[in-house]
Symmetry: C2
Subunit: 346 residues, 2 copies
DNA sequence: AAGACCTACGAAAACGTTTGCGTGTTGATA
DNA sequence: TATCAACACGCAAACGTTTTCGTAGGTCTT
């Protein structure tokens, strides 16, 4: 049987549409007999109210959009999971948009979604957007009255709700841990400066060195292209790190700003004939599968993506539901957690 | 400025709604002067037609739903990526539903989406659904006229479009490869029988042994709970495999039906003092990050999730757009590919 | 017996859009 | 000058809901 509507039920049962609507809501306005009859009929034909019509009427789609740079990425999937869980619990659906780290795709995605299809956005902007510093699409969307929650990659220029990682603190804790393990020559493998999380984690590294009264040695700092973490460039990555290791034979620890860099570093160290953690200790960032199943397991900084997603969804839905303009924007900082594993053991 | 509508533009410019609508579509019915004026005004205020209203009118949401058991899972994310790419190219959005391998959540997800919000489903059913063999939600949805494409986990009882992996063939190729590498005692680590992909891959294993005229040895077959691939059970997993290795000291190769089992097997082999691939060769299934960055890199069977997603989306959108009931259902078999890597080298 | 009051239902507007059709005005033609 | 296109625009229905309001008919009160 094709889809049922109030109208079809009404004509079938020879009553008016409003009678059907009310009966299905158990309104006392409708007599018991009619009510039961309508309910039975609706149940029989598996009637479900049309969501689109409801969205149009209520001016609310009960749907939130999440835009992320990449989906084949452990951290982002945990965030989605958190968002979906919270959203579902509160009666919202989730639609995804992938920017592929491209500014144009990000803009396009927002454009096609911000037409009533969704009630608000959760977004982590593309690297290209970070580079261009062009946020007009975010501003325009917000001006139309659509709330946005930014997560992970912070945009200081944009004033809205945010859920961010304490990258500086996480990195600082990780590097301090290496200091505590007795490491003296601690290197860092990070990204170009325009990727703000890389920059922040680098700052954490500097702070930790400072805390330990170590002087920063430029030789120990390896800055890589931000696309080096893609599978297609894994050979370049390995080569770059191997070179770096050759230049720093006295290095006894590495802090990497992401999981891929960390694993690649571990592999390169092993290939150079040294041992992890005996000769070189390694700590990464992002607690994904790679870290857990690495040999030795990789000590790392967990960002609690699931928690971030959940919080972001809470912030967004709260804002959607009490549309109070005086409600000040919040920035939630989700604390990181150092997961000590064998790769950085004494 | 809050969101613009045709009505607001119309009242602002003192013309009728239909005039505005037509002007924005460059209709020749509207005089040049009025047309330009309306277009300029609309552009200035960043007018975008309301998607919900369009969906209601056109009885088409231009949105497809994808329901998967888990999102923190490399294979499924590659599928999503493929779906999203194809969908976007054809003007569709993608909403996700996560079943968490739970039957109830799967049903609930379908119910809340199948109300007009989406035009069709792409789904890989939960393990619990496989176990219960209760497909009423799929049947009901299809009866309402909503097309469904099933992927990965096939449901022979359900007649609809499908995109599946050639699990038997993939496994057979993998195991034959091990035979070619000179292995004589090839073990398999698989799941319980109700997970059909596990079962199919086991069948492929049997066929390959048969091809090589090896006799199957029950001792070499390790069947594990299907939730053993979750991080929370990684210790159980390691222990189970270590036991298995002890019982099979003469084993010289392992075929694992998923990536986690394969990595765990490699780790267990190494811990037992043996070497991969010299003493024991390992081949997995699913070409995820773990395989690529493992040490040694893990030979594996790629399922081409991206391709599967793309095909599934094509099938679905074609069916949505030419709603031809005589159009026979198709089952697309996406061929697997053996990726030979160091873990299975001679 | 006449007014007041329930009870049980229907009409209609609204959400924002598209589109077939109707219509008033203009200019040209016969 | 009467007729007729062509032009430029407006009306209204439709998609499926919800909800406010209106109103028949019946029951109760005095």
């Amino acid at each position: 049987m094709p889809k049922m509507t109030l109208k079809k039920i009404a004509s079938e049962l020879e009553v008016s549409i409003s009678t059907v609507s009310k009966a299905l809501k158990d309104s006392h306005e409708i007599g018991e007999e009619t009510r039961k009859k309508i309910q039975a009929f609706a149940a029989l034909y598996n009637y479900k109210p049309n969501n689109i019509a409801l969205s149009l009427k209520n001016q609310r789609a009960h749907t939130i959009g999440i835009i992320i740079p990449e989906i084949v990425h452990h951290f982002f999937t945990t965030v989605i999971q958190g968002v979906e869980q919270e959203a579902n619990a509160r009666g919202y659906n989730v639609v995804i948009g992938l920017s592929d780290e491209s500014f144009a795709k990000e803009v396009h995605n927002m454009d096609t979604l911000a037409n009533g299809s969704i009630d608000g956005f959760i977004i982590s902007v593309a690297k290209e957007t970070l580079l261009k510093k062009d946020y007009h699409h975010l501003r325009e969307t917000m001006n139309q009255g659509m709330p946005i929650v930014i997560f992970d990659r912070d945009l200081p220029d944009i004033d809205t709700d945010k859920v961010v990682v304490d990258d500086v603190r996480g990195a600082r804790t990780a590097v301090s841990y290496l200091v505590d393990q007795g490491c003296k020559r601690i290197g860092i493998i990070t990204t170009n400066d325009h990727v703000n999380v890389g920059k922040l984690r680098y700052m954490g590294y500097q702070k930790a060195l400072n805390d330990a009264q170590f002087t920063e040695d430029p030789k120990l700092i390896l800055k890589l292209d931000d696309d080096m973490d893609s599978v297609s460039r894994s050979e370049d990555l390995g080569a770059a790190i191997s070179n770096y290791l050759e230049d720093n034979s006295d290095l006894d620890a590495i802090f990497a700003v992401n999981e891929i860099f960390a694993i690649a570093a571990m592999n390169a160290v092993k290939q150079s004939g040294k041992q992890v953690p005996e000769d070189v200790k390694v700590v990464g960032f992002t607690d994904g599968l790679l870290s857990k199943y690495a040999q030795p397991p990789l000590a790392t900084v967990s960002q609690h993506g699931h928690e971030m997603g959940k919080r972001a969804a809470q912030l967004l839905i709260n804002r959607i539901e009490n549309d109070d303009p005086d409600d000040a924007y919040q920035t939630l900082v989700v604390q990181t957690e150092l997961i000590p594993r064998a790769s950085a053991a004494k």
